[in-house]
Amino acid sequence: MDVSPQAAGSPEHQSVLQERWIAHRRIVRKRWFVVFGLAALAIVAALLDLFTGPAALPVNKVLHGLFDPDTLSRPMKVVLWQVRLPVALMALLVGAALALAGAEMQTILSNPLAEPFTLGVSTSAALGAALAIVLDWGVPGTGGAWLVPANAFVFALGSLLLLQVFAHWRGAQAQTLVLFGIAIGFTSGACLSLLQFIASEDALQQLVFWNMGSLARADWSSVGMLAAVVGVTLPFSWRAAAQMTSLRLGDERARSFGIDVSSLRRWALVRISLLAATGVAFVGTIGFVGLVGPHVARMLVGDGHRHLLPASVLIGASLMALASVVSKLLVPGVLLPVGIVTALIGLPVFLGLMLRRRSMQA
């Protein structure tokens, strides 16, 4: 184009462009460094999680035992391989799933406060769990240990499917979706209260504990299932990343770039549904990770989803692993429900970060 004030194509002009290009590349490279740093943080956090626990298990034995289980005594082997490792992996996976779901949800709803629970996912999951715990009513074909998580999963997924139907019916617009999600959440909440009201004392205690969110229920089969869901979803999220970045510029703009925004939003909702419903089904309600993870990621690497998604996943995983460590250490000898820890620590940390950011901008 030949409307520039300086002569386009002149050597000075070209060198200015070249310099800007190099500066842009430098920013991109810096963001990738941050992502790698976060990956290291997640690994360290997971190791810390493995090292802590009521059983005395020295660090070097843990490290050896990971690669060569036969060097451990039988009880130590059980502690490491049947308790600590599933819990640590579950922490990483749940954190990753919730943060990824949160990041995508914040984009498709163009709402920085969105997280899986904004749309009533956790209350619906809790309602499903309550039906199983209180009335012993479950999805046909499930039973025993699977009754509660299967019910929670079906209800969480159901609430999001209902949302999909609404979205299809009314056009998938951000504000409508938020409103429907809140309505679904409140309705589930009311049904949940009703069940709590009629529940026996025993069932009520069990229900309340389920609701707090705990990693203690993790075993290899639940870890495997969540890993499969995260593993299947991640490549699709990655593929949609560039389009999701465009969506940050607004619906109309994204569409004028040639992006089918309705379908983008619908598929993102499918991914979010799977991630959130599976995560909630196995560990119960975990607050703040889905909100804080993407927020911190945004502060570190910006809105480009190629960086934002991996950063959110890694921050979510690290946060959950660290919360798991704290839940073992906070009261000696007692394993606190990790949901309490994330809420207790997550909120002040989050507020601190936001306030610091404000003052930095000012």
């Binding site: 409307v3 200015v16 462009l17 940050r248 510029l249 770039f257 480009g304």
Partner: protein, 274 residues
Amino acid sequence: MTPLLTFEVHDLDVSYRNRCVLSGISLPRVQAGEIIALVGPNAAGKSTFLKAIAGLVHATGRIELSGQDCLGWSVRERARHIGFMPQALPEDTSLTVLEGTLAALLGPGGRITRADELRALEMIESLGIGELALQPLMQLSGGQRQLAALAQAVVRGSPLVLLDEPVSALDLAHQWEVMNVARGLAAEGRIVMVVLHDLTLAAQWADRIAILHQRSIHSFGIPDEVITERALQDVWGVAARVRTCEQGRPYVLVDGPAGFAPHTFTSFEKTERL
């Protein structure tokens, strides 16, 4: 770009939930190299018209781009031929001006190459916001964001460019700059359709002007023919004087509501004389 770029609209209807928003809109053939200004009072349907062309609202009728009816085109195909700058500024995002422009260039898929990045930088530079290329959009002023949005709309090099109030947040110098960019795009052989509120600006820059009134085209033609005292009274409901400047382009001075007689009013001019 096809050598014979033309654009015309036949009998375009748009309705939202059974409410008619535009009816029977027709524009005669427009040639490559023309700037068409779309003017009219608020709620006349100017933005809707542009959105209908860009494929963002459902419309019936015929929209022809170089002889091809583009109403049936997919979003993707339209994006290849049409660049659209919405009225709403980009939302609060930490994407940089360059990243936003790259998003527009990338569209629904593909890879960004170094050549693409340099091309986007070139476009940003040519709009006079080169210094801001690596700034987050949310840290820019309204006017700067408008220029960044313009870069997104034109960077793909689409033959038809639609601009919805591109100068609403800009000072006089930047208004001139944006209109000059539009002129440059037209000179490259594109067609530029721009919604404007300032009739004098429209008359100064546009080759032809379409007045939209009550959901349909009131008049269409060269500025001299269209911008008349009569039209201002009928369409905008104002009493105004239309004068002609040295270059022969009309300009507009608004006196008051329709039926208003200037001599009954102590205008600034008159006070001075008193």
